[in-house]
């Protein structure tokens, strides 16, 4: 698949996050990144700011949107498993992938209880040889909607899916 694709048609893939936003999940995320914003830690501070309760860090959206790696009935995870995002919904070759351009545009903050659905649409596929390998740039638009079907955020990304050259590269 090369060239432009319609961003407005049916999504190529859809996924639902493994679990709703929780206070525990917010805490684990904010802890690792040392985020001390009181709106992430304190319901009272969030209510004083006009919110219904604590919110998730804005940068946590893709984590909330991630489906489960494994659930009962699934086969064991293979060696070298990667996050179960739907980037593979485009049929282009390459065993490695890296992001080259990213954007998250928000309609509102994520709140405790939000469960995100991701609908993937491909806007362009461009073959290119780079310093790290031979592959394709794939442009995605991913709509993140909540459990009520309301839009929370839109992610626009370009990823480079490639087969590496032999030997280490100097950069991305």
């Amino acid at each position: 698949m090369d060239g432009e694709a319609s961003p407005h048609g049916q999504p190529l893939a859809s996924q639902v996050g493994a679990e709703p936003v929780s206070a525990a999940g917010i805490r684990r995320f904010a802890e690792a990144y040392e985020m001390d914003c009181p709106l992430y830690w304190d319901d009272a501070a969030a209510r004083a700011a006009g919110l219904s309760g604590r919110i998730a860090p804005w940068s946590m959206a893709m984590t909330v949107a991630m489906p489960a790696y494994w659930k009962p009935g699934d086969p064991p995870l293979a060696e070298g498993f990667v996050p179960p995002f739907a980037w593979d919904c485009v049929d282009v070759p390459g065993r490695e992938m890296m992001s080259t351009r990213v954007e998250l545009v928000f309609e509102r903050p994520l709140r405790v209880g939000d469960l995100l659905r991701s609908d993937y649409r491909v806007t362009r596929v461009t073959p290119k040889r780079t310093s790290v390998g031979e592959g394709h740039f794939i442009d995605f638009e991913v709509s993140l909607t909540d459990q009520h079907g309301d839009l929370v955020a839109v992610e626009r990304s370009s990823v480079y899916r490639y087969d590496p050259h032999a030997g280490p590269a100097e950069g991305g």
């Binding site: 802890e31 700011a49 940068s59 893709m62 351009r101 998250l104 928000f106 050259h165």
Partner: protein, 149 residues
Amino acid sequence: MTAVAQAIGPVRPIEPGQSIGSHTFPLSLQRLVMCSAASLDFAPSHVTDDAARQGGAPGAYADITFVFAMVEKLLVQWAGPDIRVRALGPLEIKDFVLAGADVITSGSVVEVRPAAGDPAWTEVTVSVAIRQPGGRVPVSGLARVEVPS
């Protein structure tokens, strides 16, 4: 608006060209693993140097959520907690954000205008960049926030 938000915030008036400061995050491999786990991103390239090298990188590197988090930390540090983040990006990823070195995020104001439909808030577009030692600038781009007017 919280008392904290009133006490902490950007210099007023906000004008294009103003610095929004900088933030340094020491990124050891141990911290990268902690952040990757918190982001639920267990891709081998974010956990071990060997896996990253097999993919063509010089060593273990941070994921996109880490990049978003660094930009968010800078925005909150500059404007205080009572902000509305409208957009993280677009951000160009030109190189790997590598473990084993500081991650320095900085930025400046690009544009200031009233928030659409809400005169109590002002929309600010900032340019941001992530730097690492050796003159490397692996990430640069924009972010948009709304702050109390």
